[in-house]
Symmetry: C2
Subunit: 347 residues, 2 copies
């Protein structure tokens, strides 16, 4: 699969020019230029016709390098800005961007995993060096709109499966689920529940699969009632935690899928008069900054969010500067951090 | 550039033009334009000479409204991006900016409360509609560099005392300190300590003054050993908390100055075997998203960070669009939220 997005890339047709697109669609050359530059003063119908022709011919603007009129920008877009998780990523991007003397435009996509066209129009108009999407992916025609302007993009912590040729940085979620569950098994737990994130987010499924593999390894049966999908937020952990811990056969350990959900499980346990870790062990995920400070301090899986963000930013800047990075799909390693919230099960 | 040459604004000298600055400093008109546009291709010495003349004559570029070549940007700069506090502000700015169809460039100033010139140069070069500074202020000559380009700026949650004519949005810190302390006095506490933020940050001092006023009101003496200045982070609360709670005359209540510091105090109490709220009451500040979920849920002072950020953004956009907002200095109200971490003192 071809992965080059420059003008001479193998998938592009080098005989296609702005003039040939203009001739074919019956508009002037400046009109095609306006569309490529994200200008809003072109009628919607004309614009759609031009975009269609650009995509059909796989047009690629030759990368002109950074504009001279101002400093370089990259776009960073989150599907949703939530508390401690987003700020780790923002910090990683800011540090890497500052080192490269690049500024960062931050957007929130209102909870959508696929950006609205309105957002993409604003991106095209400001002509960033590149676009970094967190937990979001672009539709095929949106991808092409960036490609035809030679604006590279990178996906961070993939949500769903980005096409093979999309550069992406993630972490080893399956391994994270495996090591969290092995730790609990090693302490002697047998009734272990998992609360993962939403089932339509790939990393949630990978963590649950790691959980299953660890139980398999130990010759234990997976009780379907003990496999839950939350929302990665405190409320999801609290509600599933309350439900799981109110059962007569309640689990002695919960792998909470995120540190926020672990906070919710801790709260549910407190309300039910269960002591952590004496009556219940809890493992979080992410290793957010508060996880070592809450009571009890969370045993958790370190997801190196700042390093992932910096890696993605450097990859994006490399692509934008016309370098050919050796690695275009990277998963950073996760690591179990043992603190106070896990112990052997009550005897 | 031909239309840029007049100056405006009540303090400006309307006879000063780019041409007169060029003549006086012995450079060409395009060189003065380059400096105004943040271009880097002017020798440092020439540039300093031109900036000096611009400042001395109080030159003001006529505000030309948003550039037509791209969508409008505002700059949002934090002295430091910390965990949950910053994200509340970022969300408030993003929502208000998106409504106004303005994009946000986010920068971190590496812990400095006064930005480096390098950052300001990048701002001048990208010509934003305006600049929003969080816990930071500009030096006099930096202020003038923005003013001479007609780029307005607003300060959020003032750190130090911005000059009277600088638009600013904050919250009523003194009142927050007062209501937190009154609440503890009302429960019957008499040995109350405060851990505020750094003493050189104005809001820290205002909160301590509110604390003192509440004790005064109750006819209680302020023990200087019970007035501490931390760093607003968990570590500051933990260290001062540990020290205060190890004293023979330990306090029965601590006003922790920030929710992060309250987390640190909770941890110190746990380590010393003290139960919150039975043995010790703790009040936080900020009402960050986790504060209702930790154990015990924090009694805290709600600082409406998202609303403050949105108010500051709207004020900035108003100024940039040439409107004359009625209020240029606003403090939003703080409010005590009572949860589980406060109770009457041990008898």
């Amino acid at each position: 699969m071809a992965t080059d997005i420059s003008a001479s890339g193998p998938r592009s047709n080098s005989s296609v020019t702005i003039a040939s697109i203009a001739a074919e669609t019956g508009v002037s050359v400046p009109t095609v230029s306006k569309v490529l530059n994200g200008r809003s003063d072109v009628a919607a119908e004309t614009r759609a016709k031009i975009e269609e022709a650009l995509e059909r011919h796989q047009y690629r603007r030759r990368n002109r390098g950074p504009a001279t009129s101002g400093p370089s920008l990259i776009d960073l877009a989150f599907h949703e800005l939530d508390s401690a998780w987003s700020i780790e990523i923002i910090r990683g991007v800011e540090v890497a961007a500052a080192e490269a003397e690049v500024s960062v435009v931050l957007s929130e996509l209102g909870g959508r995993h696929r950006p609205e066209q309105k957002w993409l129009d604003a991106v095209l108009a400001r002509r960033p060096m590149g676009v970094l999407l967190v937990l979001s992916t672009l539709g095929k025609s949106q991808r092409h709109q960036l490609e035809s302007r030679s604006i590279p993009y990178v996906v961070l912590d993939t949500d769903g499966e980005p096409p093979e040729d999309v550069p992406a940085v993630g972490s080893n979620n399956w391994n994270g689920g495996l090591s969290a569950t092995r730790h609990l098994l090693g302490l002697g737990h047998q009734r272990i529940a998992v609360i993962s994130g939403p089932p339509d987010v790939l990393c949630s499924r990978a963590r649950v699969d790691g959980f299953r593999s660890a139980l398999d390894e130990a010759g234990l049966h997976v009780d379907p009632a003990f496999v839950r999908y939350g929302d990665f937020y405190v409320a999801g952990g609290y509600e599933h935690g309350k439900d799981l811990l109110s059962r007569p056969d309640r689990p002695t350990a919960i792998f909470a899928g995120s540190d926020m959900q672990a906070l919710g499980v801790l709260r549910a346990a407190r309300e039910l008069g269960l002591d952590v870790p004496r009556d219940l062990s809890v493992v979080g995920y992410d290793n957010l900054s508060f996880s070592g400070w809450v009571g009890p301090a969370l045993t958790t899986v370190n997801q190196p969010l700042q390093a992932m963000a910096a890696t993605a930013t450097n990859l994006l800047i490399d692509l934008a500067r016309g370098n050919s990075p050796q690695l275009r799909r990277v998963d950073l390693a996760t690591e179990l951090i043992v603190r106070e919230s896990t112990a052997p099960p009550p005897s």
